[in-house]
Amino acid sequence: MRPELSNASDASLALAIARYREDALAEAYRRHAGVVFGLARRLLREKAAAEEVVQEVFVRLWNAPDRYDPERGSLRSYLLAQAHGRAVDQMRAESSRRRREEREARETAHGGYDLELEVGDIIVAGQVREVLGALPDAERRPIELAYFRGHTYREVATILGEPEGTVKSRIRSGLKRMHGQLAVAGLGTKGQQP
């Protein structure tokens, strides 16, 4: 690897990738593949499926580097968003959906599936954990079901027995609340809530 890449900004890295520098893609992978894999694994549970998502995300970065706009946020955020979208697509594919439903049915049968307990499992990191955990249940639960379980908001409404309009409003207000509290904690720079 050429030495300058190890300290390169996201924008410089993306530009180098656009110029067919594989060492720049390798540097992006070194920096971000771990968390991308962690999120995909969190969502899909299956290692092979998560690996596939990581591969897709980085190959896409190579093929279409200009889809990443440094003005809109960090490269890590972009890659995580890409990974989330792909993982959710997989979860909603019929075969994946069936496996997931079977797994969730087993978890319920064993008495192991409880959203409150699940929350304890997924919360692993400092301030994000605190902020998510501090949300009112009415906002936190739909956010978790949508983001970490890959459900559409209509499905979330069915699961929670709430009107669809209520669910989308609560997801929105919950995200706004988190954004405000993360900003107070010194996290977050892009985007402003009106």
Partner: protein, 242 residues
């Protein structure tokens, strides 16, 4: 869907929790609404922070994934999207009602959009949501003429607006079947490939970054090369802010 209805969907949009049809409606609204874009950026930031912090740990990707990625990469420049300009001659413009011209353009744009949709991996140079007609019909577009210092017959035209460009009317020398024309730009003192044009280019959609100051076309071995290996055939300076 009204602005307020779209606004209500921004949270679920950021979490990838919308149905496809609603997602499309939000996608169509966003380019027109800075307020919604700003709110969505904030939601996405929160989503990214959750993804970053709450994934499975330890967050270490297996080495074999990189090996698979590395071996699957194409080390050739992408082919530019083939593109044929609508036949807007002066005579046609005079005798055909404006509405018919507009309809023809809409058809061309629709066909182009369909083609672009099928070539997702090849359209890194084309910003989505733009079209030849929207650039060509906008009076603010700029025209750049690529020319040869030695052969007056070799030339090509690029029309530009806000970084979206279309290479049109190329007139280039004959090359062998083992070669392709390739489009290059000078950016921050370095030559970067914008893509290959084939041996018989009709035109192409391209993306021009603000850092680019010069456009060039040369002939390269089939498939193109990461860096130019033969002399430039035609070139033109790019206007500042193109």
């Amino acid at each position: 869907m009204t602005h307020n209805e779209i606004e209500e969907l921004l949270g679920v949009y950021a979490l990838d929790a919308l149905d496809e049809e609603e997602r499309r409606e939000v996608d169509e609204h966003l380019p027109t609404c800075p307020r919604c874009r700003a709110e969505l950026a904030a939601h996405r930031e929160v989503a990214a922070m959750m993804g970053n912090a709450l994934g499975e740990s330890p967050a270490v990707a297996p080495d074999e994934i990189w090996d698979r990625i590395s071996s699957s990469l194409l080390d050739e420049p992408p082919a530019l999207v083939p593109f044929r300009r609508p036949g807007l001659t002066r005579r046609l413009a005079l005798v055909v009602p404006l509405g018919a011209v507009a309809a023809a353009l809409v058809l061309v744009v629709a066909l182009l959009a369909a083609k672009v949709g099928n070539l997702d991996s090849q359209v890194s140079s084309l910003r989505s949501g733009t079209s030849f007609s929207s650039v060509y019909l906008n009076p603010k577009h700029k025209t750049v003429e690529l020319a040869s210092a030695t052969h007056p017959g070799w030339r090509a035209t690029v029309i530009l607006l806000n970084g979206n460009g279309y290479l049109i009317n190329p007139s280039m020398p004959a090359i062998s079947r083992a070669e392709t024309f390739q489009l290059w730009a000078l950016s921050r003192g370095k030559v970067v490939s914008l893509g290959v044009l084939g041996a018989h280019p009709n035109g192409a959609a391209i993306r021009v970054e603000p850092t680019m100051t010069l456009l060039m076309i040369n002939a390269e071995p089939l498939g193109g090369t990461p860096q130019p290996t033969t002399p430039v055939l035609v070139q033109a300076d790019l206007p500042v802010g193109a």
